[in-house]
């Protein structure tokens, strides 16, 4: 019920239209009863009674009724469909906006396929509910109650007899409600799983092909597909059980009318004419009762979906802007880590990290694979929050800043290059959508990407595939670098940005970077000594701790890890040239 209340928030701004639509439904229900009435008059009065004078007016009335009814109907349905579309548009909007606010932890836990299911299949279910189920439920209720009232007016005893069935229907409906809920839950889950299997197969198609795992993938898919099918069939078993039952209950009214009505008539408690009327009204009781099953079905399905959707909309990211935050449009760029530790679950990833990077300084971070380099820099943008200690920018704890403003002051090229299926220009200007083409070209040149871009058939208008497939690793990295350079922020983070480019290109990029990063606080993660040696400060990370720090010369003098890496990289070369 909570979820229905939640849905109501979305409907209530349009409740006048909804009520108007329901009003039209009511009017139409009345008009549909006028039609057989007029037909009756024509048959009895004109054909049987021979009163041909009233034929023309009756036929005109007959036509008029239907024309009005049809117009109403069109308006009615249009309003319902339109309202439902607006409602789901708003729900989708909120889902999307919630999705965008979630922190990285959320995406580590939730699979793309699951989120996709919420935003498509679940939303579609809600649409159906608003456009159709609400109105049908109303129509059925009106029909049922009005028929009962009329019947009660005609003969109370027989109506009471019919009433006996109502609690039975209530019980059946209640039991159906209970048993159908887990079934829908299952269907939803297996759909989600199917979604994930297919989605990963599509995204990982290169790996699938490289290992010729097509048949394995097909088996995996078949299992998920079968599970989804079985969940659906399992679901149909519930309504296979209840729908015929409700149907029979509805039909049993006719039997009751015949037998109880017959007895009452024989006993003189009602007239034959009254019995005929009862009989002709029985459909008005029958039809809603038959619908009850389907209505419950669809409503519960919607509730299952609503719960999921509501949960996602209401999911609050753990990382957010404090209510009282500091407004500072442009920060200067001093970054300080003060006793920072970070754990992922139970695993300690960073252990008591402290360092200061002054404005305009460059800090290099090197260390073994998985030593926590990328984690360290992602803490600066608050992609994760520190477990212990604090990070300060311009001497203020980053948690005090407006999150968006904070991130706007940091530009980043990630190790894991993600490109959107858009033009190259669109990808470079992703962070600054209104950048001029000249600016885009300029940063592309700085990242040494311009040359290969213009060699492509459509140059900057070339559309690259999702994740930039079709480009080489080095090309992708250079586009990501250009993207980071375009947003001119005081803090620049380059996470292993040149690992896939050759040393010559890297050298070129380094030279231009010096120009670009002159007044910026820069963080560079790299494996090559040549990439880090000019930095003001080099941090060596090992198992989440800073084990060495200093300038290139200082570290060489120290003779530790850094020196060892240096020797390996140098030594190899010396041997060759010797």
């Amino acid at each position: 019920m909570k979820s229905l209340k939640w849905l109501w928030q979305y409907i209530s701004p349009y409740k006048r239209r909804l009520f108007l639509a329901l009003g039209l439904t009511l009017t139409n229900a009345i008009l549909s009863n006028i039609r057989p009435y007029i037909t009756g008059l024509i048959v009895d009065g004109v054909f049987r009674g021979g009163n041909f004078d009233i034929l023309i007016p009756l036929v005109l009335a007959f036509i008029a009724t239907i024309v009005f009814k049809d117009i109403f109907r069109i308006c009615d349905h249009y309003m319902l469909e339109d309202t439902s579309q607006i409602v789901i548009m708003n729900i989708r909007r909120d889902l999307y906006s919630s999705m965008q606010q979630q922190d990285f932890t959320y995406f580590d836990k939730n699979r793309t396929g699951d989120i996709m299911t919420k935003m498509s299949a679940d939303v579609e279910g809600i649409r159906h509910f608003v456009a159709w189920v609400i109105n049908s439920a109303f129509e059925s209720a009106v029909l049922f109650i009005s028929a009962l009232l009329i019947m009660g007016y005609i003969n109370r005893k027989l109506t009471l007899c019919l009433f006996l069935v109502t609690p039975v229907i209530g019980i059946i409906a209640f039991r159906q409600t209970k048993s159908v809920h887990p079934v829908f839950h299952n269907i939803r889950q297996s759909l989600s799983r199917l979604n994930t299997v297919v989605q990963e197969n599509i995204s990982g198609n290169r790996v699938v092909k490289a290992f010729t795992r097509e048949s394995y993938e097909i088996e995996k898919f078949k299992a998920a597909n079968l599970e989804y099918k079985n969940a659906n069939i399992e679901g149909s078993k519930v309504w296979r059980k209840y729908v015929p039952l409700l149907d029979s209950m509805a039909n049993s009214l006719n039997v009751i009318i015949l037998i109880a009505g017959g007895i009452l008539t024989i006993r003189g408690d009602m007239t034959v004419g009254e019995l005929v009327t009862f009989n002709s009204l029985s459909w008005a009781l029958n039809t809603p009762m038959r619908n009850v099953g389907w209505l419950i079905n669809d409503s519960l399905r919607t509730i299952t979906s609503l719960e999921k959707v509501k949960e996602m909309v209401e999911e609050r990211p753990k990382i957010y802007t404090k209510e009282e935050y500091i407004t500072k449009d442009r920060i200067k760029g001093k970054v300080e880590f003060r006793n920072v530790s970070f754990s992922y679950g139970d695993t300690l990833v960073l252990d008591n990290i402290s360092f200061t990077a002054n404005c305009g300084e460059s800090v290099a971070i090197i260390g073994a694979t998985g030593s926590g380099k990328s984690t360290l820099i992602s803490l600066i943008s608050r992609f994760y929050d520190v477990t212990e200690g604090e990070i300060l920018i311009d001497d203020i704890n980053i948690k005090e800043y407006n999150l968006k403003k904070l991130r706007q002051n940091i530009s980043m090229a990630m190790q894991d290059v993600f490109l959107f299926s858009d033009t190259i220009e669109g990808n470079i200007s992703y962070g600054v959508p209104d950048a001029s083409f000249n600016d885009v070209e300029e940063v592309a040149k700085a990242a040494d990407a311009h040359d290969f871009i213009v060699e492509m058939t459509e140059g900057y208008d070339t559309i690259v595939g999702e994740r930039g497939v079709g480009l080489s690793g080095g090309q992708k990295q250079r586009i990501a670098l250009a993207r980071a350079l375009l947003s001119d922020s005081p803090i620049l983070i380059l996470d292993d940005t040149t690992s896939s480019v050759d040393v010559e290109t890297e050298h070129y990029i380094q030279q231009t970077l010096k120009q670009y990063a002159k007044n910026k606080t820069t963080f560079i993660i790299a494996h090559r000594i040549s990439s880090v040696k000019d930095c003001d400060q080099i941090l060596v990370l090992d198992k989440g701790r800073i084990v060495e720090r200093g300038t290139h010369e200082e570290l060489l003098a120290k003779g530790g890890y850094y020196k060892k890496i240096y020797d390996i990289q140098q030594g190899n070369l010396d041997k060759v040239t010797a």
Partner: protein
């Protein structure tokens, strides 16, 4: 097929394609028996249902005036039995139709998925993945009801129309003529809307697909979005796409909404004419009152099934938009496939030869021209050269991810064009720089290289690539759950896992495309020690930028200008003082600190 992005509509098909429907019927074929049985159940129960008003009126007209209580109860029981039978048929129908509908959908989806597996990289590279996903999941689902209940309803409605029509004919030919005229007018009206309606729904499905693609990309690219604080911009784009979906939906829906009233209006006018003409003929005495009354009864019954049929037609029209997309995908023939009479590739020794190979992605734009080289079994070959020179193209050709335009690629002297793709690729290991981690455990991810590998084998492979140590530091070791894109693992760690995966496959030819770019120096050194042992007996192709990796290779090929400019080992090429020498010394000088 042109490249596509999220806001580009997929192209629409011009004509209503009956061929699509015919292909769909193929899926119903195994269920003909079910359809017939269900139809029999439905029709028999509706025939019995026709009896029930007669029973009631008989009771009211005769049994009640006679005060025959037993007779009434007897008739009541009769009614009850009819309803019981009815309930039984409803139950049967639900069972059989849900089974049939789900089975058909299952098959259709399977066929689509299996076909997708045969499509080349370029198919996946040239469109947003969300657009492929929506076809396999949402579009196929949309067909399920149509294919089960829709078909049954259609047949039983056609049957009803036929029966009622026969009754009308029997009563009066002339009056039936009027109804036929009404029917014809209606059919013309519906058909004139048909094209508009179909186009509207086509447009809607395109917009929906765009929206889905955008959602998909937004989720997968969320890190970039957040780091560039593009949320607001994206929200606006999303809302615009969402609005387009709504608008296109309403455009289609308004036509749907109008069809029902259209029928009702036509039916009303027809009935009105029947009244007027009937009255006139009663007046002139050319028809009896009873006949007119009976006829008007049938006329009102006649339009109901017609309405249902047109509703079905509506749904078919909507579904066609989906069906077109599904079949469009199924009809794409993979460009690289087994030639007729392709043989199994025998166990590979590892000799690789390119003989005058020409290749182009787009016609008229050659990427490789007259490339020839020979690699002996067990050799390690490093490919170097500027970005975009065609290094990756060469290794893709070895795995036959692309077919060449001219020339021959031979492995152990066997032209790879004439062997089955599966038997060829199964013996090669490709490690791409694009690592992909499936959701599941690390164990599962490594085992992907060899599905029947034991845990020990997996661990051994992980040890060989120096991945074991870091895996053991994770909370559940090899059983740690990772997810797509392995968000909890660093890029270097993911490369190590992919490496272990490739090694576990124990390929005879190993291809490493920038496989170790994100791995730190020390790990790489350790890795290389292990590798030297592992690479023994395998032909290995390496694309890398690290000089250390390159210079240890048995053979270095310098690729530029669509061909191999130089080949030889490090010493030979250095002595030659050509391209490689230039590249090496330049890099050396830059690296020297």
């Amino acid at each position: 097929m042109a490249r596509n992005k999220f806001d580009v509509d997929e192209k629409l098909e011009g004509e209503f394609n009956f061929g699509h429907l015919k292909r769909l019927l193929k899926y119903l074929k195994p269920h003909v028996k079910t359809v017939i049985l269900t139809l029999f159940a439905i029709l028999s129960s509706s025939a019995l249902n026709l009896l029930s008003p007669m029973i009631t009126s008989y009771a009211i007209d005769y049994k009640i005036p006679q005060k025959d209580l037993a007779g009434i109860i007897f008739l009541g029981l009769g009614l009850f039995l009819i309803y019981l039978y009815n309930a039984f048929t409803v139950r049967y129908r639900i069972t059989s139709m849900s089974k049939m509908g789900q089975s058909v959908v299952e098959r259709l989806r399977e066929d689509l998925f299996v076909h997708l597996q045969t499509l080349p990289f370029s198919y996946y590279d040239s469109r947003p993945h969300g657009k492929i996903l929506v076809r396999v999941i949402n579009y196929v689902n949309a067909l399920s009801d149509l294919l089960s209940n829709g078909i049954i309803n259609l047949i039983s409605d056609i049957f009803n129309v036929a029966v009622i029509f026969a009754f009308m004919l029997y009563i009066d030919l002339r009056l039936t003529g009027i109804v036929v005229v009404g029917g014809v007018i209606f059919t013309i009206a519906v058909f004139s809307l048909k094209d508009k309606q179909r186009r509207a729904w086509q447009l809607h499905s395109a917009k929906q697909s765009n929206l889905n693609a955008y959602i998909h990309e937004s989720i997968t690219g969320i890190k970039v979005t957040q780091s560039f604080t593009r949320e607001w911009e994206n929200q606006k784009i999303f809302e615009k796409q969402s609005q387009l979906v709504k608008d296109s939906f309403m455009k289609g829906k308004i036509i749907d909404i109008c069809i029902w009233p259209l029928i009702e209006t036509v039916s009303t006018l027809t009935t009105a004419v029947v009244f007027l003409v009937g009255a006139h003929w009663i007046f002139t005495g050319s028809i009896t009152v009873g006949k007119v009354i009976a006829f008007t009864g049938y006329v009102s019954m006649f339009w109901n099934p017609i309405m249902n049929i047109s509703n079905f037609y509506n749904s078919i029209n909507n579904a066609m938009a989906y069906l077109e997309r599904i079949y469009e995908t199924m009809d794409i023939q993979p460009t690289v496939r087994d030639v007729e009479g392709a043989v199994e590739m025998p166990p590979i020794k590892g000799d690789v030869e390119f003989s005058h190979v020409y290749f182009s992605y787009d016609e008229g734009k050659p990427v490789l021209e007259d490339v020839s080289f020979k690699v002996k079994s067990g050799e390690t070959v490093a490919l170097v050269g500027p970005t975009g020179a065609g290094k990756t193209t060469i290794i893709n050709i070895i795995s036959r991810f692309y077919d060449i335009d001219r020339g021959k690629v031979l492995i152990d002297g066997q032209d790879i064009k004439y062997v089955t793709l599966n038997s060829l690729r199964k013996q090669m290991g490709v490690m791409l720089q694009d690592t992909f981690i499936f959701s599941g455990t690390i164990m599962d991810n490594i085992r992907y290289g060899k599905l029947d590998a034991t845990d020990e084998e997996v661990i051994e492979a992980a040890k060989a690539v120096c991945a074991h140590d870091f895996i053991m530091t994770l909370e559940n070791g090899y059983y740690t759950q990772v997810n797509e894109r392995g968000s909890r693992l660093s890029a270097g760690q993911r490369q190590l896992i992919s490496f272990a995966r490739a090694l576990l496959a124990d390929p005879k030819i190993l291809i490493l495309d920038e496989a170790t770019s994100s791995i730190d120096t020390q790990t790489e050194i350790a890795l290389q020690k292990g590798l030297n042992r592992l690479l023994q007996g395998r032909t290995t192709f390496v694309i890398a930028h690290r000089l250390s990796t390159i210079k240890n290779a048995d053979k270095i090929m310098f690729v530029d200008n669509k061909n191999i400019q130089e080949a030889g080992n490090h010493e030979e090429l250095m002595a030659k003082r050509g391209h490689y020498y230039k590249l090496y010394t330049a890099q050396y000088n830059l690296s020297a600190v």
